[in-house]
């Protein structure tokens, strides 16, 4: 399995992390050795095996339809990088 620069650029776009060519090359190298290591899994036959998503041995607990969280706008916006009392502010989306 060979991960090329094009793939690195694609993944970095999906994960919203910018890469220049130098960084992309290093990443490609790292990922390739990691994936060589991971390839080992293909040795195993797993056609009839049920995937395991969670080891928590319980069922999903349902909660009652109660409003417990009140207006905490100040708390919510306190840590935001922009200085606005009502909204989160981000640079315009290019649609």
């Amino acid at each position: 399995m060979s991960i090329d620069l094009k793939t690195i650029k694609h993944i970095s776009k999906l994960s919203r992390i910018s890469v220049d060519d130098k960084k992309a090359e290093k990443l490609a190298g790292d990922l390739n050795s990691i994936f060589d290591f991971i390839e080992k899994l293909s040795e195993l036959k797993t056609d009839n095996v049920q995937p395991l998503t969670s080891v928590a041995e319980t069922t999903l607990k349902l909660r009652p339809d109660e409003i417990k969280s009140k207006n905490i706008r100040e708390q919510i916006l306190k840590n935001s990088p922009a200085d606005n009392e009502d909204f989160f502010v981000v640079p315009k989306v290019v649609e």
Partner: protein, 496 residues
């Protein structure tokens, strides 16, 4: 240049001698009626100040975790039952990963491979008969927040109040073939959910939105064409316009020998056209995987049965009962059951009419006069200025001959301003119609005597003059003469 085929009311796009059929599938997003959100305990109320209904979980702070709302699960199952659909006892929540300013987690919790509700169906009442539209599935997912682009030239403002509200995504099979069918389908879905109380269907408030999938193919073709998705259309009118535009666009491309790119588009409500969404090209890779913060949802037969027992009479059944019990036409019944509030109002009027009901009057006054007023004032029937009780009274007054239909209309106008008991208005204004044959005879004889020449002309064949005499009688009686009796007596007297 869309022309509809002259033979049937079939929606086809015609180019020369080629007929293209339009295949439509809808993904409807319906906001679940509940107090709190799907995975957090914030309120879901519409119209709050920005970011005042946002919890730490909604804003995706570090270490926050989702906990599912039992009522939302019930609402989804209830809706599934209303869609005559398969309820899946085991379903899984998956993360749909993408980045957007109004998606604080960087993923949406949704259901991908194992939704809570499976296949079902919806019956539409179309002018040329009933049509069955298949439902592919219904699943629960989180709604996103709101991005506001027009408050600042350089920035987008984000309000997370809506972030995390429960949505039901209802996916139809590609069974729809025209904007009219889409209209009927949305209205039917909305009606069912309002009957069940699972979604209020308020499109202006955004409770109901749809993504519209459109493709075209030559009429009679077996394979589907490439489809385009028009995202987030929030009114039926826009859906219809978008479909019309898109279908024509696709046909034009095909006729031009071009391929249709499978893509996501927006409907521009100012230009009335669809256009491609630039930012979504790589958003197709949502990298769905089961949410490790949640376990599979398992519901028991008992749980489902208890929900079944809460289901009220649904529109299709109510329609059947209205036809059987009240002997009204299928067309009338369809209108009356389309909205649960209308059906409730109608049944209340019927009940309040007591013995000797006049169904026809009830149907006509509600679907005619009352609907006109509600439309004019932009009111829901639940906000009707005239109560069912008083409308029933008005109808009874017509039925028992106390007033004429015409007088009733003027009383109705008065009632709009304050839901007054019509009996009171009749008494106060002395509007009782004159139904005493002897008094009418006297009046009519008087009128005929005053218009001898016209009476002779009438007898000689000028039948149009009948209207003149009726008019005179009505004028002289202050409009209160009983019209049927006037007709009978006048006819007889003029022949003498």
């Amino acid at each position: 240049m869309d022309l509809v085929s002259k033979e049937q009311a079939e929606y086809l796009i015609i180019r020369g001698d080629k007929e293209y059929e339009v295949v439509i599938g809808l993904e409807v997003h319906a906001q679940v009626t509940s107090n709190s959100k799907l995975f957090s305990t914030s309120s879901t109320k519409f119209g709050a100040e920005p970011n005042t209904q946002v919890s730490l979980v909604d804003a995706a702070f570090p270490g926050m975790l989702p906990v599912i709302n039992e009522f939302c699960v019930k609402q989804a199952i209830k809706t599934g039952i209303g869609l005559k659909a398969q309820i899946n006892k085991r379903s899984v929540f998956d993360r749909k990963n993408y980045f957007y300013a109004d998606l604080p987690q960087g993923y949406q919790i949704s259901q991908f491979k194992d939704p809570i509700v499976g296949e079902g169906k919806v019956i539409l009442d179309m002018p040329n008969g009933q049509k069955e539209v298949g439902i592919e599935r219904l699943h629960l997912e989180q709604d996103a927040g709101k991005s506001i682009h027009d408050m600042d030239p350089h920035n987008t403002f984000v309000d997370l109040n809506r972030s995390g509200v429960a949505l039901m995504e209802i996916v139809s099979k590609p069974d729809l073939r025209s904007p009219d069918e889409v209209n009927a389908y949305i209205k039917k879905l909305r009606s069912i959910m309002r009957y069940l109380g699972t979604c209020d269907g308020n499109m202006q408030e955004g409770s109901l939105r749809a993504d519209v999938n459109v493709s075209v193919r030559l009429k009679g073709a077996k394979d589907f064409g490439t489809r385009c998705e028009i995202k987030n259309v929030n009114s039926i009118k826009f859906m219809q316009m978008a479909i019309n535009y898109e279908a024509n666009r696709q046909v034009d491309l095909i006729e031009d020998g071009q391929k249709i790119d499978q893509e996501t588009r927006l409907f521009d409500t100012k230009k009335n056209e669809t256009r491609s969404m630039r930012s979504k090209e790589d958003a197709h890779d949502y990298r769905y995987f089961p949410d490790p913060d949640l376990l599979p949802l398992e519901v028991t037969d008992e749980f489902i049965d208890s929900i079944k027992s809460e289901i009220p009479e649904l529109p299709d059944d109510k329609k059947k009962r209205f036809i059987d019990e009240f002997k009204i036409s299928p067309y009338e019944a369809t209108i009356l059951v389309s909205d649960i509030e209308v059906a409730k109002y109608f049944e209340e009027v019927v009940a309040k009419m007591g013995k000797n009901k006049d169904m026809k009057l009830a149907v006509n006054w509600i679907t005619g006069e009352l609907f006109a007023v509600l439309n004019d004032k932009n009111l829901e029937i639940s906000q009707s200025p005239i109560s069912a009780k008083n409308l029933a009274k008005l109808i009874n007054l017509i039925k028992n001959g106390t007033i004429s239909g015409k007088i009733a209309k003027s009383i109705f106008e008065d009632m709009i301003n304050g839901d007054v008991d019509p009996q009171v208005i009749v008494e106060e204004k002395g509007l009782k119609q004159q139904s005493d044959p002897k008094a009418l005879e006297v009046l009519i004889e008087k009128i005929i005597n005053e218009n001898r020449d016209k009476a002779i002309e009438y007898k000689q064949g000028k039948e149009k003059l009948f209207g003149f005499f009726v008019g005179q009688v009505m004028k002289n009686s202050g409009g209160k003469a009983n019209p049927q009796m006037v007709n009978e007596i006048l006819k007889a007297k003029l022949q003498e």
